[in-house]
Amino acid sequence: MNVLVCIKQVPDTKIIKVNPKTNTLDRSSAPAILNPYDAHAVEEAVRLTEQHGGKVIVLSMGPPQARIAIKKCIEIGADEGYLISDRRFAGADTLATSYALYKAIEKLIKEEGIDLVLCGKHAIDGDTGQVGPGIARRMEIPPLTNVIRVEKVDTDEGSIIVHRKIENGYERIQSTLPCLLTVEKEINEVAYSPLPNMIKAARYEPIVWTVDDLNDVDVKQLGLKGSPTIVGKMWPPEKSSGADMIGGTVEEQVEQLLTITLEKRELFSVKGGETT
Protein backbone atom coordinates (compact mmCIF):
# COMPACT_ATOMS: atom_id res chain seq x y z
CA MET A 1 0.00 0.00 0.00
CA ASN A 2 1.69 3.20 -1.14
CA VAL A 3 0.87 6.22 0.95
CA LEU A 4 1.37 9.76 -0.30
CA VAL A 5 1.72 12.53 2.26
CA CYS A 6 1.37 16.20 1.35
CA ILE A 7 3.63 18.31 3.51
CA LYS A 8 4.20 22.03 3.81
CA GLN A 9 7.10 24.06 5.10
CA VAL A 10 5.82 26.84 7.36
CA PRO A 11 7.29 29.63 9.46
CA ASP A 12 7.19 28.83 13.17
CA THR A 13 4.18 30.97 14.10
CA LYS A 14 5.09 30.74 17.78
CA ILE A 15 7.94 33.14 17.17
CA ILE A 16 7.01 35.05 14.04
CA LYS A 17 6.88 38.83 14.39
CA VAL A 18 4.73 41.35 12.63
CA ASN A 19 6.49 44.35 11.17
CA PRO A 20 4.59 47.20 12.80
CA LYS A 21 5.36 49.61 9.94
CA THR A 22 4.17 47.51 7.03
CA ASN A 23 1.73 45.24 8.90
CA THR A 24 3.25 42.27 7.15
CA LEU A 25 4.89 39.23 8.61
CA ASP A 26 8.59 39.34 9.04
CA ARG A 27 9.38 35.84 7.83
CA SER A 28 13.03 36.19 8.65
CA SER A 29 12.04 36.48 12.31
CA ALA A 30 10.96 32.84 12.46
CA PRO A 31 12.65 29.61 11.39
CA ALA A 32 10.96 27.50 8.71
CA ILE A 33 9.76 24.17 10.04
CA LEU A 34 7.80 21.16 8.85
CA ASN A 35 4.12 21.88 9.53
CA PRO A 36 3.59 20.03 12.86
CA TYR A 37 0.40 18.29 11.69
CA ASP A 38 2.23 17.00 8.64
CA ALA A 39 4.84 15.35 10.86
CA HIS A 40 2.00 13.34 12.39
CA ALA A 41 0.73 12.48 8.92
CA VAL A 42 4.16 11.16 7.90
CA GLU A 43 4.43 9.20 11.14
CA GLU A 44 1.04 7.61 10.50
CA ALA A 45 2.02 6.75 6.94
CA VAL A 46 5.21 5.09 8.18
CA ARG A 47 3.24 3.01 10.68
CA LEU A 48 0.68 1.98 8.07
CA THR A 49 3.30 0.86 5.56
CA GLU A 50 5.13 -1.04 8.29
CA GLN A 51 1.93 -3.04 8.78
CA HIS A 52 0.71 -3.30 5.22
CA GLY A 53 3.82 -2.94 3.07
CA GLY A 54 4.37 -0.34 0.38
CA LYS A 55 6.20 2.93 0.62
CA VAL A 56 5.74 6.46 1.92
CA ILE A 57 6.12 9.23 -0.62
CA VAL A 58 6.03 12.86 0.45
CA LEU A 59 5.10 15.74 -1.80
CA SER A 60 5.44 19.45 -1.21
CA MET A 61 4.87 22.59 -3.18
CA GLY A 62 7.09 25.47 -2.21
CA PRO A 63 10.31 27.38 -2.76
CA PRO A 64 13.60 25.44 -3.13
CA GLN A 65 14.33 25.58 0.60
CA ALA A 66 11.24 23.42 1.24
CA ARG A 67 13.70 20.57 0.51
CA ILE A 68 14.65 20.83 4.14
CA ALA A 69 11.12 20.01 5.30
CA ILE A 70 11.15 17.00 2.96
CA LYS A 71 14.44 15.81 4.45
CA LYS A 72 12.82 16.05 7.87
CA CYS A 73 10.14 13.62 6.60
CA ILE A 74 12.81 11.20 5.41
CA GLU A 75 14.12 11.33 8.97
CA ILE A 76 10.71 10.35 10.29
CA GLY A 77 10.76 7.41 7.89
CA ALA A 78 9.43 8.48 4.48
CA ASP A 79 10.96 6.65 1.54
CA GLU A 80 10.88 9.29 -1.18
CA GLY A 81 10.28 12.99 -1.51
CA TYR A 82 9.12 15.20 -4.34
CA LEU A 83 9.13 18.98 -4.45
CA ILE A 84 7.20 20.93 -7.02
CA SER A 85 8.81 24.32 -7.26
CA ASP A 86 8.28 26.97 -9.88
CA ARG A 87 7.55 30.70 -9.80
CA ARG A 88 4.33 29.98 -11.65
CA PHE A 89 3.02 28.26 -8.49
CA ALA A 90 3.59 31.36 -6.35
CA GLY A 91 0.75 33.29 -4.74
CA ALA A 92 -1.61 30.32 -4.81
CA ASP A 93 -4.70 30.26 -2.64
CA THR A 94 -6.11 26.91 -1.57
CA LEU A 95 -7.91 26.25 -4.86
CA ALA A 96 -4.74 26.79 -6.88
CA THR A 97 -2.64 24.89 -4.32
CA SER A 98 -4.86 21.84 -4.53
CA TYR A 99 -4.74 22.01 -8.32
CA ALA A 100 -0.94 22.06 -8.44
CA LEU A 101 -0.61 19.25 -5.91
CA TYR A 102 -3.24 17.24 -7.75
CA LYS A 103 -1.33 17.52 -11.00
CA ALA A 104 1.80 16.18 -9.30
CA ILE A 105 -0.20 13.39 -7.63
CA GLU A 106 -1.61 12.40 -11.01
CA LYS A 107 1.91 11.90 -12.30
CA LEU A 108 2.94 9.98 -9.19
CA ILE A 109 -0.07 7.70 -9.53
CA LYS A 110 1.03 6.80 -13.04
CA GLU A 111 4.59 6.17 -11.92
CA GLU A 112 4.10 4.49 -8.56
CA GLY A 113 0.43 3.93 -7.73
CA ILE A 114 -1.09 5.57 -4.65
CA ASP A 115 -3.60 3.88 -2.32
CA LEU A 116 -3.98 6.52 0.33
CA VAL A 117 -3.29 10.26 0.59
CA LEU A 118 -2.60 11.95 3.92
CA CYS A 119 -2.57 15.64 4.79
CA GLY A 120 -2.34 17.59 8.00
CA LYS A 121 -5.53 18.95 9.54
CA HIS A 122 -4.24 22.39 8.66
CA ALA A 123 -1.02 24.29 8.09
CA ILE A 124 -0.16 26.60 10.98
CA ASP A 125 0.51 29.60 8.73
CA GLY A 126 -2.32 29.88 6.19
CA ASP A 127 -4.35 27.83 8.63
CA THR A 128 -7.34 27.12 6.38
CA GLY A 129 -7.52 23.31 6.37
CA GLN A 130 -8.94 23.58 2.86
CA VAL A 131 -6.18 22.05 0.77
CA GLY A 132 -6.81 18.40 1.73
CA PRO A 133 -10.52 18.31 0.85
CA GLY A 134 -9.69 20.26 -2.31
CA ILE A 135 -7.21 17.60 -3.44
CA ALA A 136 -9.71 14.84 -2.67
CA ARG A 137 -12.38 16.52 -4.74
CA ARG A 138 -10.01 16.85 -7.67
CA MET A 139 -8.94 13.20 -7.38
CA GLU A 140 -12.58 12.22 -6.98
CA ILE A 141 -11.85 10.25 -3.85
CA PRO A 142 -13.57 10.65 -0.45
CA PRO A 143 -11.97 13.08 2.02
CA LEU A 144 -12.07 12.06 5.67
CA THR A 145 -11.07 15.10 7.69
CA ASN A 146 -10.01 15.52 11.34
CA VAL A 147 -8.94 11.91 11.73
CA ILE A 148 -7.83 10.92 15.23
CA ARG A 149 -7.43 7.19 14.66
CA VAL A 150 -7.07 4.69 11.87
CA GLU A 151 -9.01 1.74 13.22
CA LYS A 152 -8.60 -0.73 10.40
CA VAL A 153 -7.15 -1.00 6.92
CA ASP A 154 -8.18 -3.89 4.73
CA THR A 155 -6.01 -3.85 1.64
CA ASP A 156 -7.64 -6.96 0.13
CA GLU A 157 -11.09 -5.49 0.34
CA GLY A 158 -9.76 -2.00 -0.34
CA SER A 159 -11.36 -0.33 2.64
CA ILE A 160 -10.49 1.70 5.70
CA ILE A 161 -12.23 2.61 8.95
CA VAL A 162 -11.21 5.79 10.75
CA HIS A 163 -12.38 7.93 13.65
CA ARG A 164 -13.18 11.54 12.76
CA LYS A 165 -13.26 14.12 15.52
CA ILE A 166 -16.48 16.11 15.52
CA GLU A 167 -17.74 18.78 17.90
CA ASN A 168 -18.95 16.67 20.79
CA GLY A 169 -17.38 13.32 20.15
CA TYR A 170 -16.22 11.35 17.15
CA GLU A 171 -17.63 9.27 14.35
CA ARG A 172 -16.49 5.95 12.97
CA ILE A 173 -16.60 6.09 9.23
CA GLN A 174 -15.77 3.55 6.59
CA SER A 175 -14.47 4.38 3.14
CA THR A 176 -13.23 2.59 0.09
CA LEU A 177 -9.57 3.03 -0.87
CA PRO A 178 -8.10 5.19 -2.23
CA CYS A 179 -9.23 8.04 -0.03
CA LEU A 180 -7.68 11.08 1.60
CA LEU A 181 -7.29 11.66 5.34
CA THR A 182 -6.44 14.88 7.13
CA VAL A 183 -4.98 14.10 10.53
CA GLU A 184 -5.18 15.66 13.97
CA LYS A 185 -2.20 15.62 16.34
CA GLU A 186 -3.89 13.05 18.60
CA ILE A 187 -3.49 10.41 15.93
CA ASN A 188 -0.01 9.43 17.12
CA GLU A 189 3.20 10.52 18.81
CA VAL A 190 5.99 11.27 16.40
CA ALA A 191 8.72 8.84 17.43
CA TYR A 192 12.37 9.78 17.70
CA SER A 193 14.07 9.11 14.42
CA PRO A 194 16.36 6.10 14.39
CA LEU A 195 19.96 6.74 13.38
CA PRO A 196 19.79 5.11 9.92
CA ASN A 197 16.95 7.48 9.00
CA MET A 198 19.03 10.45 10.12
CA ILE A 199 21.91 9.29 7.98
CA LYS A 200 19.67 8.71 5.00
CA ALA A 201 18.03 12.11 5.46
CA ALA A 202 21.34 13.93 5.65
CA ARG A 203 22.32 12.68 2.21
CA TYR A 204 18.88 12.70 0.68
CA GLU A 205 17.94 15.07 -2.11
CA PRO A 206 14.28 15.20 -3.15
CA ILE A 207 13.24 15.06 -6.77
CA VAL A 208 12.29 18.54 -7.95
CA TRP A 209 9.70 19.13 -10.64
CA THR A 210 8.73 22.36 -12.34
CA VAL A 211 5.44 23.05 -14.09
CA ASP A 212 6.97 21.67 -17.30
CA ASP A 213 7.57 18.27 -15.70
CA LEU A 214 3.84 17.82 -15.06
CA ASN A 215 1.35 16.70 -17.68
CA ASP A 216 -1.53 18.70 -19.20
CA VAL A 217 -1.25 21.61 -16.82
CA ASP A 218 -3.59 24.53 -17.34
CA VAL A 219 -1.27 27.34 -16.21
CA LYS A 220 -4.23 29.68 -15.80
CA GLN A 221 -5.26 27.58 -12.81
CA LEU A 222 -1.89 27.99 -11.08
CA GLY A 223 -0.52 30.51 -8.62
CA LEU A 224 -1.94 33.98 -8.23
CA LYS A 225 -3.68 33.78 -11.59
CA GLY A 226 -5.55 30.63 -10.65
CA SER A 227 -6.61 31.95 -7.24
CA PRO A 228 -10.15 33.25 -6.78
CA THR A 229 -9.26 34.75 -3.40
CA ILE A 230 -6.81 37.53 -2.76
CA VAL A 231 -5.55 38.94 0.49
CA GLY A 232 -6.89 42.48 0.72
CA LYS A 233 -5.46 44.21 3.72
CA MET A 234 -3.62 42.87 6.73
CA TRP A 235 -3.40 44.36 10.19
CA PRO A 236 -2.32 43.23 13.65
CA PRO A 237 -5.23 41.92 15.74
CA GLU A 238 -7.32 44.64 17.24
CA LYS A 239 -6.39 45.80 20.65
CA SER A 240 -9.19 47.31 22.65
CA SER A 241 -8.65 50.82 23.89
CA GLY A 242 -7.35 49.27 27.08
CA ALA A 243 -8.74 48.56 30.48
CA ASP A 244 -10.01 51.03 33.04
CA MET A 245 -7.39 50.63 35.70
CA ILE A 246 -8.37 50.42 39.32
CA GLY A 247 -5.85 52.04 41.60
CA GLY A 248 -5.60 52.55 45.32
CA THR A 249 -4.71 50.20 48.13
CA VAL A 250 -5.49 46.51 47.83
CA GLU A 251 -8.46 46.98 50.11
CA GLU A 252 -9.82 49.70 47.86
CA GLN A 253 -9.21 47.56 44.80
CA VAL A 254 -11.13 44.67 46.33
CA GLU A 255 -13.96 47.02 47.26
CA GLN A 256 -14.23 48.35 43.71
CA LEU A 257 -14.00 44.92 42.11
CA LEU A 258 -16.82 43.80 44.34
CA THR A 259 -18.98 46.70 43.24
CA ILE A 260 -18.27 46.16 39.54
CA THR A 261 -18.86 42.43 39.71
CA LEU A 262 -22.01 42.68 41.75
CA GLU A 263 -23.58 44.79 39.03
CA LYS A 264 -23.81 41.41 37.39
CA ARG A 265 -25.41 39.96 40.48
CA GLU A 266 -27.85 37.81 38.52
CA LEU A 267 -24.93 35.66 37.34
CA PHE A 268 -23.96 34.29 40.68
CA SER A 269 -25.81 31.23 41.75
CA VAL A 270 -25.91 31.18 45.49
CA LYS A 271 -27.64 28.48 47.45
CA GLY A 272 -31.01 29.82 48.51
CA GLY A 273 -30.95 32.42 45.80
CA GLU A 274 -32.90 30.20 43.48
CA THR A 275 -36.24 30.28 45.24
CA THR A 276 -38.69 28.80 42.84
Binding site: N23, Q130, R138, T145, P228, M245
Partner: protein, 347 residues
Protein backbone atom coordinates in the same frame (compact mmCIF):
# COMPACT_ATOMS: atom_id res chain seq x y z
CA UNK B 1 -19.43 33.70 -15.34
CA UNK B 2 -21.93 36.52 -15.13
CA UNK B 3 -21.59 37.89 -11.62
CA UNK B 4 -24.99 39.61 -11.73
CA UNK B 5 -26.73 36.26 -12.02
CA UNK B 6 -25.82 35.54 -8.42
CA UNK B 7 -28.15 36.86 -5.72
CA UNK B 8 -29.00 36.32 -2.07
CA UNK B 9 -27.04 35.47 1.02
CA UNK B 10 -27.14 31.82 2.09
CA UNK B 11 -26.35 30.16 5.36
CA UNK B 12 -25.62 26.44 5.72
CA UNK B 13 -27.77 25.17 8.58
CA UNK B 14 -25.93 22.29 10.18
CA UNK B 15 -28.02 19.71 12.00
CA UNK B 16 -27.27 16.80 14.28
CA UNK B 17 -29.95 14.14 14.63
CA UNK B 18 -32.36 16.60 12.95
CA UNK B 19 -31.65 19.30 15.56
CA UNK B 20 -30.25 22.56 14.31
CA UNK B 21 -26.98 23.43 16.00
CA UNK B 22 -26.39 26.97 17.20
CA UNK B 23 -23.76 28.13 14.77
CA UNK B 24 -26.29 28.19 11.91
CA UNK B 25 -28.51 30.53 13.93
CA UNK B 26 -25.54 32.76 14.76
CA UNK B 27 -24.79 32.99 11.05
CA UNK B 28 -28.38 33.93 10.25
CA UNK B 29 -27.81 36.92 12.52
CA UNK B 30 -24.64 37.87 10.69
CA UNK B 31 -26.14 37.00 7.30
CA UNK B 32 -29.14 39.25 7.96
CA UNK B 33 -26.88 42.29 8.11
CA UNK B 34 -25.09 41.32 4.90
CA UNK B 35 -28.36 40.67 3.08
CA UNK B 36 -29.77 44.02 4.21
CA UNK B 37 -26.70 45.86 2.99
CA UNK B 38 -27.01 44.15 -0.38
CA UNK B 39 -30.78 44.47 -0.39
CA UNK B 40 -31.28 40.77 -1.13
CA UNK B 41 -32.93 37.81 0.59
CA UNK B 42 -31.37 35.84 3.41
CA UNK B 43 -31.80 32.11 2.86
CA UNK B 44 -30.97 29.10 4.96
CA UNK B 45 -30.28 25.73 3.42
CA UNK B 46 -30.60 22.55 5.37
CA UNK B 47 -29.88 18.97 4.36
CA UNK B 48 -30.99 15.91 6.28
CA UNK B 49 -33.71 13.41 6.96
CA UNK B 50 -36.86 14.77 8.67
CA UNK B 51 -35.70 18.36 8.93
CA UNK B 52 -38.64 20.31 7.51
CA UNK B 53 -40.14 21.13 10.90
CA UNK B 54 -36.81 22.38 12.21
CA UNK B 55 -36.38 24.36 9.00
CA UNK B 56 -39.50 26.37 9.68
CA UNK B 57 -38.02 27.69 12.91
CA UNK B 58 -35.39 29.55 10.90
CA UNK B 59 -37.65 32.44 9.91
CA UNK B 60 -37.68 33.54 13.51
CA UNK B 61 -33.92 33.97 13.32
CA UNK B 62 -34.02 36.13 10.20
CA UNK B 63 -34.32 33.79 7.20
CA UNK B 64 -36.64 34.95 4.41
CA UNK B 65 -36.46 31.63 2.66
CA UNK B 66 -35.27 28.14 3.49
CA UNK B 67 -34.15 25.52 0.99
CA UNK B 68 -34.62 21.99 2.25
CA UNK B 69 -33.40 18.73 0.84
CA UNK B 70 -34.79 15.76 2.72
CA UNK B 71 -33.50 12.30 2.02
CA UNK B 72 -32.53 9.37 4.25
CA UNK B 73 -29.19 9.41 2.46
CA UNK B 74 -28.52 12.84 4.03
CA UNK B 75 -29.30 11.81 7.61
CA UNK B 76 -25.69 12.03 8.81
CA UNK B 77 -23.10 14.32 7.34
CA UNK B 78 -20.97 12.79 4.62
CA UNK B 79 -18.81 14.81 2.28
CA UNK B 80 -19.88 12.96 -0.86
CA UNK B 81 -23.62 13.39 -0.40
CA UNK B 82 -23.55 16.88 1.12
CA UNK B 83 -21.11 18.18 -1.46
CA UNK B 84 -23.28 16.86 -4.30
CA UNK B 85 -26.48 18.29 -2.83
CA UNK B 86 -24.93 21.68 -2.08
CA UNK B 87 -23.27 21.86 -5.48
CA UNK B 88 -26.62 21.17 -7.15
CA UNK B 89 -28.33 23.88 -5.10
CA UNK B 90 -25.62 26.41 -5.89
CA UNK B 91 -25.71 25.70 -9.62
CA UNK B 92 -29.48 25.92 -9.70
CA UNK B 93 -30.21 28.94 -7.47
CA UNK B 94 -26.92 30.88 -7.74
CA UNK B 95 -26.38 32.52 -4.34
CA UNK B 96 -24.06 35.50 -4.11
CA UNK B 97 -22.61 34.65 -0.70
CA UNK B 98 -22.58 31.44 1.37
CA UNK B 99 -21.65 31.24 5.04
CA UNK B 100 -20.82 27.96 6.80
CA UNK B 101 -20.04 27.39 10.48
CA UNK B 102 -16.35 26.57 10.94
CA UNK B 103 -17.16 23.27 12.61
CA UNK B 104 -15.45 20.02 11.57
CA UNK B 105 -18.25 19.23 9.12
CA UNK B 106 -18.91 22.82 8.06
CA UNK B 107 -15.26 23.31 7.08
CA UNK B 108 -15.14 19.95 5.36
CA UNK B 109 -18.23 20.74 3.32
CA UNK B 110 -17.21 24.28 2.40
CA UNK B 111 -13.76 23.16 1.23
CA UNK B 112 -15.22 20.41 -0.93
CA UNK B 113 -17.92 22.67 -2.39
CA UNK B 114 -15.39 25.41 -3.20
CA UNK B 115 -13.50 22.96 -5.38
CA UNK B 116 -16.69 21.43 -6.77
CA UNK B 117 -18.01 24.79 -8.02
CA UNK B 118 -14.56 26.37 -8.42
CA UNK B 119 -14.83 29.43 -6.26
CA UNK B 120 -12.96 31.13 -3.45
CA UNK B 121 -13.38 30.24 0.22
CA UNK B 122 -12.19 32.28 3.18
CA UNK B 123 -11.43 30.17 6.21
CA UNK B 124 -12.33 30.66 9.88
CA UNK B 125 -13.52 34.23 9.59
CA UNK B 126 -14.35 36.39 12.59
CA UNK B 127 -15.44 39.63 10.87
CA UNK B 128 -17.81 40.00 7.93
CA UNK B 129 -18.75 43.07 5.95
CA UNK B 130 -19.90 44.28 2.55
CA UNK B 131 -18.27 46.89 0.40
CA UNK B 132 -21.61 48.20 -0.83
CA UNK B 133 -20.19 50.33 -3.62
CA UNK B 134 -18.33 47.40 -5.20
CA UNK B 135 -20.90 44.86 -4.04
CA UNK B 136 -18.03 42.85 -2.63
CA UNK B 137 -17.96 40.57 0.38
CA UNK B 138 -15.13 41.38 2.82
CA UNK B 139 -14.34 38.41 5.04
CA UNK B 140 -11.62 38.83 7.64
CA UNK B 141 -9.79 36.19 9.58
CA UNK B 142 -6.85 35.63 11.90
CA UNK B 143 -3.91 33.82 10.26
CA UNK B 144 -0.35 32.91 11.19
CA UNK B 145 -1.31 31.63 14.61
CA UNK B 146 -3.39 34.71 15.35
CA UNK B 147 -0.47 37.08 14.78
CA UNK B 148 -2.23 38.89 11.97
CA UNK B 149 -5.71 39.65 10.67
CA UNK B 150 -6.35 39.58 6.94
CA UNK B 151 -9.30 40.59 4.80
CA UNK B 152 -9.85 38.14 1.98
CA UNK B 153 -11.70 39.10 -1.19
CA UNK B 154 -13.11 37.01 -4.01
CA UNK B 155 -13.67 39.42 -6.84
CA UNK B 156 -14.32 37.39 -9.96
CA UNK B 157 -15.96 34.21 -8.74
CA UNK B 158 -19.36 33.48 -7.28
CA UNK B 159 -20.57 32.49 -4.80
CA UNK B 160 -18.25 34.23 -2.38
CA UNK B 161 -17.89 31.77 0.48
CA UNK B 162 -16.60 31.83 4.04
CA UNK B 163 -16.51 29.59 7.06
CA UNK B 164 -17.20 31.49 10.28
CA UNK B 165 -16.01 30.53 13.73
CA UNK B 166 -18.72 29.36 16.09
CA UNK B 167 -19.55 31.67 19.00
CA UNK B 168 -18.16 34.77 17.32
CA UNK B 169 -21.40 36.06 15.84
CA UNK B 170 -24.36 36.68 18.14
CA UNK B 171 -27.35 34.41 17.83
CA UNK B 172 -30.32 36.73 17.22
CA UNK B 173 -33.26 36.80 19.59
CA UNK B 174 -35.97 34.86 17.81
CA UNK B 175 -39.03 36.71 16.56
CA UNK B 176 -41.69 34.02 16.23
CA UNK B 177 -43.96 36.33 14.25
CA UNK B 178 -41.56 36.56 11.32
CA UNK B 179 -42.61 34.57 8.31
CA UNK B 180 -40.80 33.13 5.34
CA UNK B 181 -41.09 30.66 2.53
CA UNK B 182 -40.02 27.06 2.35
CA UNK B 183 -38.58 25.61 -0.81
CA UNK B 184 -38.55 21.83 -0.69
CA UNK B 185 -36.01 20.80 -3.26
CA UNK B 186 -36.73 17.23 -4.14
CA UNK B 187 -34.92 16.45 -7.34
CA UNK B 188 -31.49 17.62 -6.31
CA UNK B 189 -30.16 14.49 -4.71
CA UNK B 190 -29.69 11.75 -7.21
CA UNK B 191 -27.32 9.51 -5.29
CA UNK B 192 -28.04 5.94 -4.26
CA UNK B 193 -26.74 4.45 -1.04
CA UNK B 194 -25.16 1.46 -2.77
CA UNK B 195 -23.09 3.65 -5.09
CA UNK B 196 -21.58 5.66 -2.22
CA UNK B 197 -18.06 5.05 -1.06
CA UNK B 198 -18.37 6.14 2.54
CA UNK B 199 -20.57 4.97 5.36
CA UNK B 200 -20.94 6.42 8.85
CA UNK B 201 -20.83 3.33 11.04
CA UNK B 202 -21.42 5.03 14.35
CA UNK B 203 -21.47 8.46 15.93
CA UNK B 204 -20.10 8.48 19.44
CA UNK B 205 -21.20 11.54 21.36
CA UNK B 206 -19.04 11.93 24.39
CA UNK B 207 -20.93 12.47 27.60
CA UNK B 208 -21.26 16.14 28.35
CA UNK B 209 -18.00 17.15 29.85
CA UNK B 210 -17.90 17.85 33.54
CA UNK B 211 -16.60 21.31 32.78
CA UNK B 212 -18.47 22.99 30.02
CA UNK B 213 -16.65 26.26 29.75
CA UNK B 214 -18.29 27.11 26.48
CA UNK B 215 -21.60 27.50 28.24
CA UNK B 216 -20.41 29.09 31.48
CA UNK B 217 -21.66 32.55 32.42
CA UNK B 218 -18.76 33.27 34.70
CA UNK B 219 -15.20 32.03 34.23
CA UNK B 220 -12.27 32.59 36.55
CA UNK B 221 -9.11 31.78 34.61
CA UNK B 222 -5.64 31.08 35.93
CA UNK B 223 -2.33 31.84 34.22
CA UNK B 224 1.28 31.05 34.94
CA UNK B 225 1.38 33.98 37.36
CA UNK B 226 -0.27 31.80 40.00
CA UNK B 227 2.75 29.53 39.76
CA UNK B 228 1.76 26.16 41.20
CA UNK B 229 -0.87 23.86 42.66
CA UNK B 230 -1.29 26.12 45.69
CA UNK B 231 -1.94 29.15 43.52
CA UNK B 232 -4.33 27.15 41.41
CA UNK B 233 -6.29 26.13 44.52
CA UNK B 234 -6.52 29.79 45.44
CA UNK B 235 -8.08 30.59 42.06
CA UNK B 236 -10.44 27.64 42.38
CA UNK B 237 -11.66 28.96 45.71
CA UNK B 238 -12.53 32.29 44.14
CA UNK B 239 -14.36 30.44 41.38
CA UNK B 240 -16.25 28.42 43.99
CA UNK B 241 -17.25 31.53 45.85
CA UNK B 242 -18.68 32.93 42.62
CA UNK B 243 -20.18 29.68 41.38
CA UNK B 244 -17.91 30.11 38.35
CA UNK B 245 -16.12 27.66 36.07
CA UNK B 246 -12.34 27.50 36.04
CA UNK B 247 -10.45 28.38 32.87
CA UNK B 248 -6.73 28.29 32.24
CA UNK B 249 -3.99 29.42 29.91
CA UNK B 250 -2.05 26.84 28.00
CA UNK B 251 0.92 27.11 30.31
CA UNK B 252 -1.24 26.02 33.24
CA UNK B 253 -2.54 23.04 31.30
CA UNK B 254 0.98 22.12 30.24
CA UNK B 255 2.14 22.38 33.84
CA UNK B 256 -0.40 19.65 34.56
CA UNK B 257 -2.49 21.75 36.94
CA UNK B 258 -5.69 20.98 35.04
CA UNK B 259 -6.94 19.20 31.95
CA UNK B 260 -7.02 20.48 28.39
CA UNK B 261 -10.80 20.87 28.63
CA UNK B 262 -10.10 23.97 30.76
CA UNK B 263 -7.82 25.62 28.23
CA UNK B 264 -9.01 28.86 26.71
CA UNK B 265 -7.52 30.09 23.46
CA UNK B 266 -6.54 29.24 19.97
CA UNK B 267 -5.76 25.61 20.66
CA UNK B 268 -8.30 25.35 23.42
CA UNK B 269 -11.85 26.62 23.73
CA UNK B 270 -13.47 29.80 22.56
CA UNK B 271 -15.57 31.11 25.42
CA UNK B 272 -18.06 33.95 25.68
CA UNK B 273 -19.09 34.27 29.31
CA UNK B 274 -20.74 37.34 30.75
CA UNK B 275 -17.78 37.75 33.08
CA UNK B 276 -14.18 36.58 32.58
CA UNK B 277 -11.67 37.13 35.35
CA UNK B 278 -8.08 36.56 34.18
CA UNK B 279 -5.58 36.06 36.99
CA UNK B 280 -1.86 36.05 36.26
CA UNK B 281 -2.39 35.69 32.53
CA UNK B 282 -0.03 37.70 30.35
CA UNK B 283 -2.44 38.14 27.44
CA UNK B 284 -0.74 36.31 24.57
CA UNK B 285 -2.72 36.66 21.35
CA UNK B 286 -3.36 32.91 21.33
CA UNK B 287 -5.13 33.28 24.66
CA UNK B 288 -6.97 36.48 23.76
CA UNK B 289 -8.62 35.02 20.65
CA UNK B 290 -10.37 32.52 22.89
CA UNK B 291 -11.94 34.97 25.33
CA UNK B 292 -12.05 38.41 23.73
CA UNK B 293 -15.79 38.27 23.12
CA UNK B 294 -16.65 37.95 26.80
CA UNK B 295 -19.04 40.66 27.96
CA UNK B 296 -16.88 41.90 30.83
CA UNK B 297 -13.20 41.05 31.19
CA UNK B 298 -11.41 41.77 34.45
CA UNK B 299 -7.65 41.24 34.56
CA UNK B 300 -5.45 40.92 37.60
CA UNK B 301 -1.72 41.03 36.96
CA UNK B 302 1.28 42.42 38.85
CA UNK B 303 2.86 43.80 35.68
CA UNK B 304 1.30 47.13 34.66
CA UNK B 305 2.51 46.57 31.09
CA UNK B 306 0.98 43.12 30.68
CA UNK B 307 -0.79 42.79 27.31
CA UNK B 308 -3.88 41.41 29.02
CA UNK B 309 -4.74 44.97 30.04
CA UNK B 310 -5.22 45.86 26.38
CA UNK B 311 -7.87 43.21 26.02
CA UNK B 312 -9.55 43.70 29.39
CA UNK B 313 -12.27 46.16 30.32
CA UNK B 314 -11.19 46.46 33.93
CA UNK B 315 -7.62 46.08 35.09
CA UNK B 316 -6.03 45.69 38.49
CA UNK B 317 -2.29 45.81 39.04
CA UNK B 318 -1.83 43.65 42.10
CA UNK B 319 -0.12 40.57 43.47
CA UNK B 320 -2.54 37.72 42.88
CA UNK B 321 -1.44 35.99 46.06
CA UNK B 322 -2.50 39.01 48.06
CA UNK B 323 -5.67 40.15 46.32
CA UNK B 324 -7.32 36.89 45.29
CA UNK B 325 -7.85 35.48 48.80
CA UNK B 326 -9.16 38.87 49.90
CA UNK B 327 -11.54 38.94 46.98
CA UNK B 328 -12.75 35.42 47.71
CA UNK B 329 -13.41 36.38 51.30
CA UNK B 330 -15.21 39.56 50.31
CA UNK B 331 -17.47 37.67 47.91
CA UNK B 332 -18.23 34.99 50.44
CA UNK B 333 -19.19 37.55 53.05
CA UNK B 334 -21.24 39.57 50.61
CA UNK B 335 -23.09 36.66 49.05
CA UNK B 336 -23.67 34.93 52.38
CA UNK B 337 -25.04 38.20 53.75
CA UNK B 338 -27.40 38.52 50.79
CA UNK B 339 -28.49 34.96 51.21
CA UNK B 340 -29.27 35.49 54.87
CA UNK B 341 -31.05 38.73 53.98
CA UNK B 342 -32.94 36.98 51.18
CA UNK B 343 -34.15 34.27 53.48
CA UNK B 344 -35.52 36.68 56.05
CA UNK B 345 -37.19 38.69 53.32
CA UNK B 346 -38.86 35.56 51.97
CA UNK B 347 -40.20 34.49 55.29
Amino acid sequence: MNLEDYKDVWVFIEQQDSHIIDVGLELLGAGRELADKLDVKLCGFILGDHVTEAAKSLYAYGADKVYVIEDPILKDYRTETYMKATGDLVRKYKPEIILYGATANGKDLASAVATEVMTGLTADTTLLDINVEKRLFEASRPAFGGNIMATILCKKHRPQMATVRPKVMKKPDPDWHREGTLELVSEAISLKEDTLRTKVIEIVREAKKAVNLEEADVIVAAGKGIKDEKGFQMVKELADALGASVGASRDIVEAGLCGHDHQVGQTGLTVTPKLYIAIGISGAVQHIVGMQNSDLIIAINNDPDAAIFNAAHVGVVADAFEIVPMLTQAFRTQLAGEEAGGVTADV
